[in-house]
Symmetry: C2
């Protein structure tokens, strides 16, 4: 059973695998690249290599069997989960330390049946299916009262932490609201108490006015280079209207997909097949309708390395001003 | 002039380079490895390739000229500084955003004249010189009232962010106390208010008692695998007696160097010439004698990749329990 442990000085949780780890020297070596011709566990026909599906999208004309090969999108439990679905939390103190069992869900969203496909190459309705799948799985997992937050994220490329080439994203249901979300909610609440307005709504208004960092927009969503971008070509995608929770914005996923698609294509045009992470920041389960938080998707191309300074300070050094990144991204035709 | 910008939602500062950045596609490419036979700017004889030294340790028997080649340790301003030493902060609001000029100092501590040397291979008195240099430079920079915190860190190996092979560490003087330090100080203060004791002192006491995560110790310093280690084989080195500030612990740098040397040698034995970061967490300039904070050095081998989950949550996933890492490190004879 993995364990959740809390740092006794700051409110930082860590998932510790308590299965016997690898010998140290193996940790230090790059995992070998998959052998040519090796089977991809996420490709159609290899469904038996993953746990059984928990959700799938199949062509609707005829009825296809579950776990068969005829799918356009598939969600399966992670075969090597960071957290385990079984068991109780069993929170306890160990002297001045705090721990609980590593209870949670860890799922893999296989975004496409085509091995060489990526989100940047997919059409907009196929990307919409990915967001639909996130929502379906979130609703299902929210039935489990042990879970306080559903984190959805994507690692594209091995530099960005992907261990499989086949395009996929991940979902982790957590028994605690993570620190980053807690900080954003607290900061946004503080602003709301002072101004009686959502800070994200105000940012969108100012960015539209300044027009220095708006990368792309349609009627419903806007993509901006944040004023305090941590990374070169970082982009946040936000709904223009105030919506606290990603799952409550389902009617607009087609418009969302269009903006995400354009941003990823622009990144690819400017930066090649750049490794990236994206992540969805959304209101926690218990706070889905709050007036002060505003869900958004953060896209982080992995062009720079984090090093001692970033670890030590929580500061970031960004060599590309977001205004300059915006000019490049606006000009990139896709 | 670089710029310091604050995220409007959470208290996160970013250093934005406002010099014209590189074209996007160059950012996406790995920098080419140095040509064989290319001059190392940190090697003796190439002193003219760096800005003039601000501190050096030379053999004491005779008097050697400044900026000459006869040195055992040398500190120079960074040729490509993240922050600039000239100018005023000029804090200002831009709508709802906050910015100030990127004023600060950025120095490079060249730890050895020998190009192929590393801290793990150096003798203990030479490592002591490195810590002495950190203190000398800190005292000098503290004379400048614009600076609120001196961050000292080391990137070893290109995976850990080092752009030069020659063994060196870095110092950045900052006009604000960084977020990570602020969080640790706040957390420690909260504990102190409740218990009237330093949380770090209590951790050291419990770790000595439990004896599950003590990697190595001498009379003055202890190296532990933290209970909530974020990374495999992460080690914190702490003074056993309560000292808030690194610079106030100068009499004990020889003992500190012995512990650091042993830990780095153990890492190398277990993990090969593993890339790593280390960083010194110390009380800010204005709080050097506080009873609730305890300086320490964090050593982070770079074996795992941070990905979307870590960026999105501030959570870490560590595949190696610290108790297991401790057993390996204790057993590694050096």
């Amino acid at each position: 059973m993995p364990e959740l442990r809390k740092d006794p000085i700051i409110d930082r949780w860590v998932i510790i695998s308590t299965e016997r780890g690898q010998r140290p020297i193996f940790l230090a070596e790059e995992p070998p690249p998959p052998k040519p011709g090796a089977l991809c566990p996420l490709c159609p026909g290899n469904e038996a290599m993953t746990p059984p599906e928990v959700f799938a999208i199949r062509p609707s004309s005829i009825s296809y069997p579950e776990n068969g090969s005829n799918w356009t999108l598939r969600v399966v439990p992670n075969k090597f989960p960071a957290l385990r679905i079984e068991g109780e939390l069993d929170k306890e103190g160990v002297g001045l330390f705090d721990r609980m069992n590593g209870v949670g869900a860890h799922e893999v969203i296989v975004e496409t049946p085509i091995h060489s496909q990526t989100l940047a190459l997919m059409d907009v309705p196929s990307i919409q299916n990915v967001f639909r799948a996130y929502r379906e799985r979130t609703f299902d997992l929210l039935g489990d009262k042990r879970f306080k937050f559903i984190m959805i994220f994507k690692n594209q490329g091995s530099v960005a932490g992907a261990s499989l080439d086949h395009s996929h994203s991940q979902l982790i249901a957590l028994p605690i609201v993570p620190r980053r979300i807690h900080e954003e909610i607290s900061g946004a609440l503080q602003y709301y108490k002072y101004k009686d307005r959502c800070v994200f709504c105000d940012i969108i208004a100012q960015e539209s006015e300044d027009n220095l960092r708006v990368v792309y927009q349609n009627d419903t969503f806007v993509a901006i280079s944040p004023f305090a971008s941590r990374f070169p070509f970082e982009v946040w995608v936000l709904p223009k209207a105030h919506v606290a929770s990603f799952t409550k914005d389902g009617d607009n996923y087609l418009a969302l997909s269009e903006v995400v698609s354009v941003v990823l294509k622009k990144h690819n045009k400017l930066l090649g097949a750049v490794p990236y992470n994206y992540l969805i920041h959304t209101a926690p389960v218990d706070l889905m309708d709050i007036p002060y938080y505003h869900w958004h998707l953060e896209i982080i191309p992995r062009l720079t390395k984090t090093a001692g300074f970033e670890w030590g300070t929580g500061f970031y050094i960004n060599p590309t001003p977001p205004e300059e990144a915006t000019i490049y991204m606006r000009e990139a035709e896709v």
